[in-house]
Subunit: 405 residues, 2 copies
């Protein structure tokens, strides 16, 4: 990375990516004080930031059909509401959000996703600008492999990319890509800063997020979340999975309330189920760490059994759905093991693949899931967190998406 | 009932019936010290005992294709091995069983069911004859609505009927059917005696039975079994059910061992599941007693929810089967709730019906289950225990079966 004076804008194009997340075990139980295991899923959000020389700042978000562009001079008067000391120590205030909404002309008729993406950008841009003392004139392009609103942490991946790019671009942290390198990663300290700013972005979008999604997006791998504490697992293997979106819409709020009602109705029946799920997360964590240390096929049947058991438990909690049963049946017919991930009641499911699962089996399963009307990706969990990329090293699909913008 | 001198044979034809049993909740968990709820199912075994005047004793068991006939004089020498004091206080000894096998010419090539039914008859006949001092010359016909080997307590219903008929016939206990009555029931004290002899029959057949099946066959209703203790529920409602035999054969021993392995492998995951099942049995017992006291439709959704949860738990324990999943799916498509009953891995399932479930729904469910190749009965649980019947009061199907013999 080139040496820069403080307050100077990075003169080169900068490209970062961050992964999505899935809950491997512990969804819903986590609401009741049990552990959850969240893992990075290698469907990523890519962000390219290029210096402009026209005094403007632009953002293109083709996934959600959004293009934004302002003169930095227009933004200048807003800075007073974003003093650096404040934004670092306090969550976004209703007053700040109100100001940004007014500035961006967002009304209740603006689509929620577009509105929230705009607010998160403005919040992070102004806060970081305030910190480093200037409003950078940049063009930002964001392309994501993650569907939005599917519980896969797409908003966190977006916030992580924004935080990483803006902090690096403004020189608050370095940009870890030496000439000729394909990929670079930030230091622990820098990651902590990226994560804390990404969390602010998540607060703008979600109000009161757990911080799990941005932590996974920043650090990758896997983490345990329990009673507000987030703890990264030392080391985890990369595991092949199928990620299936049933496309059945659901309300997380309604599902969480249903589980609570069931626990209130049958406490003696339901509390042990939560205890069992907690033990599944613990057992899975132990197995993952053992796998990272000493990879062996013998761990897979254990992981599969835990997936099956937890799927039954989630059905007990009433967050199953016929579409999720279908995913389990279809994949079981190919010898594969699946569970819902996240809120349930539709939404997404994950299916474990072994390293030696034949491509023909995977293809057949994907085809059968597609025939059910589901969207299905073959990807990995335990993926890396935020990364800096050389443009040349990006896969064609991403380059093409960037080119189209 | 006529006054008889002690040691005198009842001169009239005598007819008794006893119900089968299903496990409502707690199968498998009961092996690990948790409670199980066993209920009488109104598929019954009927026994008719008629005095003969030719000095012979005969037994016809058309369900298992068995006809036995001996001279009572042939049996006389065996009595020395069945002293009344001994058989009342000790389980059948290997020597006694060996003697009976030899007498009846049973070899390892005799079908197990026939062999065991013959041994149980001879054991009870000789023990009770020894007690009352003579070998009654009677013709016994047994017809059962219960399939054998399906975990529905058919052997216990047989033993209960034999014990009730022989004890009454020999005058050890009364025969509770006054002239003109359709149905009669024995006193508590007499039931206790019938039960203890039926348990001996079960010991002949099963070696080390729990005593649950003969207790349900004798007393009917429902009982809780835990750690060797059997406790009848005060009062339970009669509930309509479908009983489905998937006809998938399974080994209870292998299934029980599988559960044990799984508990050993994941104790922290599996122990809470047993705890939850225990709570389901407790909750169900509470609901059943409330229903008996104050019948109301509002209890049914609770019973259904407990059935669904337990079915998931049994799947967690690895004793599910695709045929049982099919029963659940098919009945769910008619708005009905099912779980496996007994060992699982195939075998039988029960489906709750509400009092107001329309006949068209029941017929459609039975038809669909039949289309899957399953055998399906509409019957009741919480049925009465052993009963004496007038021949005229028997339903046509039973009379016809008796007539055919």
């Amino acid at each position: 990375m080139g040496a820069r004076a403080e307050g100077e804008m990075l003169a080169r194009t900068l490209c970062v990516s961050a992964p999505g997340k899935v809950i491997l075990h512990g969804e819903h139980a986590v609401v009741h004080g049990k552990a959850a295991l969240a893992v990075a899923v290698n469907l990523r959000t890519f962000l390219k930031m290029t210096p402009r020389n026209d005094g403007r700042v632009s953002v293109e978000l083709p996934n959600i059909g959004t293009r934004l562009c302002w003169e930095t001079a227009e933004l200048q008067p807003l800075l007073v509401a974003f003093p650096a000391a404040l934004t670092e120590s306090l969550p976004p205030s209703p007053e700040q959000i109100e100001k940004l909404k007014e500035f961006a002309g967002l009304t209740d008729t603006t689509a929620a996703t577009q509105s929230l993406a705009t607010l998160a950008f403005l919040y992070l841009y102004l806060s970081i600008a305030s910190k480093c003392g200037f409003l950078p004139s940049v063009a930002i392009l964001v392309y994501s492999e993650l569907p939005t609103g599917a519980g896969l942490g797409s908003s966190a991946a977006y916030s992580v990319c924004l935080a990483g790019a803006l902090l690096s671009g403004c020189g608050v942290i370095g940009y870890p890509l030496e000439e000729g390198q394909a990929v670079g990663r930030w230091s622990e300290e820098e990651l902590a800063l990226i994560n804390s700013w990404a969390f602010r972005g998540e607060q703008v979008i979600h109000g009161n997020p757990s911080g799990v999604d941005n932590a996974v997006g920043t650090r990758g791998g896997a983490l345990r979340y329990q009673s507000g504490n987030i703890c990264s697992l030392k080391s985890v293997p990369t595991l092949r999975i199928l990620l299936t979106n049933t496309r059945v819409p659901r309300s997380t709020k309604v599902l969480v309330a249903g589980v609570k009602d069931k626990i209130m109705k049958f406490p003696a029946v339901m509390e042990p189920v939560l205890t069992s799920i907690d033990a599944i997360s613990q057992e899975c964590e132990t197995v993952l760490e053992a796998m990272a240390e000493r990879p062996s096929l013998e761990h897979y049947p254990v992981l599969e059994e835990l997936v099956d058991i937890n799927q039954h438990h989630l059905n007990v909690m009433g967050v199953g759905h016929s579409s999720l049963d279908k995913v389990c049946q279809v994949t079981a017919s190919h010898g594969l093991h699946s569970k819902l991930t996240g809120a349930g009641g539709g939404g997404c499911a994950i299916t474990l693949l072994r390293p030696d699962t034949a491509p023909s089996v995977v293809e057949a399963a994907i085809r059968d899931l597609g025939d059910c009307g589901f969207e299905c990706w073959e990807t990995d969990i335990g993926a890396s967190g935020i990364r800096a990329h050389s443009l040349q090293s990006l896969k064609a699909e991403v380059l093409e998406a960037f080119g189209r913008m």
